[in-house]
């Protein structure tokens, strides 16, 4: 049998390549260029070599922000993934409840990030916010403005409120795609609820969970708008994540060189962790 070889199809991806070049590659190149130079504005640049990278790697500010970021991502992944699975498992699969639940679950995802931040900033205020005022009325000391623990709790609860829906919807999509025959076979075998979850539902949800895990990790690791609006990185630097630190350096201080070096290190960390997660999860999937 003769196989037709035609590489002209590669030209079909040219528009995408051009789009990616303008949206990702050219900005990335510019950041690399800035990371090895110093500037005082007016597009005048002076060679700085690897100085900015050394400065960033030796600064406590960078390591502290990175640690906060990792802790934040670990906490929200540890809560949102199991909670998302739990809610998806308990959502109705048939009837009028389905559209109601799907719309209800989608609502937080439709709200712009800065609006989410504003909602929670007002919600948590002790003087006028429903949450802050109620807690104060109950005698519970809560103030996210000057208490580190309260600021963290507020950000974590806000992120869970905003993004668990995404995990729920992805898991739900995985669950409804499981044919009834699996459940019937499990029922005939007398499988327990746990066994059905462990050996049917969880394996079938694995692919969507991989997507949910990666999306939530990357999003939480790059989180900026919501904590910036709610706490502004405070109290002190308690909620200053890498992205907030980056913006402070680049726009607040106009230190484009150090900001570019920080951006590249930040990008490499996200790339490495995402690749590790993806490889580990797809590899275990292939083994199964």
């Amino acid at each position: 049998m003769e196989k037709t070889w035609n590489n002209k199809a590669w030209f079909m991806v040219l528009p995408v390549l051009v789009l990616v070049a303008f949206s990702a590659v050219i900005p990335l190149m510019t950041v690399v260029n800035y990371s090895v130079q110093d500037t005082f504005g007016n597009n005048e640049f002076f060679w700085a070599g690897t100085d900015w990278f050394t400065d960033v790697l030796e600064s406590d500010r960078f390591w502290d922000a990175l640690t906060r970021n990792l802790i934040f991502s670990a906490i929200i992944l540890a809560i949102e993934i199991p909670l998302g699975i739990l809610i998806a498992l308990n959502m109705p699969k048939k009837g009028l409840g389905v559209p109601f639940c799907l719309v209800f679950m989608s609502l937080p995802l439709l709200i712009p990030w800065n609006v989410v931040g504003t909602i929670w900033q007002v919600f948590g205020r002790v003087d006028i916010g429903l949450l802050g005022y109620t807690l104060a009325a109950l005698g519970i000391p809560y103030n996210y403005v000057n208490n580190v623990f309260d600021a963290w709790i507020t950000l974590i609860v806000m992120d869970i409120w905003h993004w668990t829906s995404l995990v729920v919807l992805l898991c739900y999509a995985g669950l409804v795609s499981i044919p009834d025959a699996y459940y019937q076979a499990a029922s005939i075998d007398g499988a327990s609820r746990w066994a059905v979850f462990r050996y049917i539902q969880l394996p079938k949800m694995k692919r969507v969970l991989l997507i949910a895990f990666l999306l939530r990790f990357m999003d939480s690791f790059m989180i900026y708008t919501e904590p910036f609006v709610v706490t502004g990185g405070g109290p002190g630097n308690a909620t200053t994540f890498l992205s907030i630190d980056l913006v402070k350096t680049a726009i607040g201080q106009f230190d484009l060189g150090p900001a570019a070096a920080l951006s590249i290190i930040y990008f490499l960390i996200i790339l490495l962790l995402s690749w590790i997660f993806y490889t580990v999860m797809t590899n275990s999937d292939a083994e199964n």
Partner: protein, 139 residues
């Protein structure tokens, strides 16, 4: 498959073209470098006042990345065999995966060298080459 075997494999031509383009662009970059008192300023902006702030080292960095991608294409054309294989890390990798692992690992080797040693970055580059060779051989 008969059609495939009848096609002459002219990979040396492709290799020469890729290397010639690389050399030509590198030569062009050298030619636009500013000369001060008869000495080339290797670290001066290539385009004065340009917002992308290109310099010779950064331009060569990206040019070399593109060269590596082109060489991967030539390699695949010369000896098709980029199918996944399982190496010492116990998961499947293609040639492209191994290039990605090499580049990502090299970036971290260079960062670690900067943070821990601080000087002699060329040693980090040499270490990265050894690491990349190991990745392509074993992973």
């Amino acid at each position: 498959m008969a059609a495939v075997s009848q096609r002459p494999n002219r990979w040396p031509v492709a290799l020469v073209i890729v290397l010639a383009v690389y050399a030509a662009i590198a030569g062009l970059l050298v030619s636009v470098l500013p000369v001060k008192d008869g000495v080339r300023d290797w670290f001066a902006p290539l385009v004065r006042g340009g917002w992308m702030a290109w310099t010779f080292p950064t331009a060569m960095f990206f040019l070399t990345i593109f060269l590596l991608l082109a060489l991967m294409a030539v390699w695949e054309y010369a000896r098709p065999g980029g199918n996944p294989r399982v190496g010492i890390l116990r998961f499947e990798t293609t040639r492209g995966d191994r290039l990605f692992i090499s580049l990502l690992g090299s970036a971290f080797i260079n960062l670690a060298w900067l943070g821990l040693v601080g000087t002699g970055q060329w040693w980090a580059l040499a270490l990265s080459l050894v690491y990349a060779f190991g990745v392509f051989k074993l992973v």
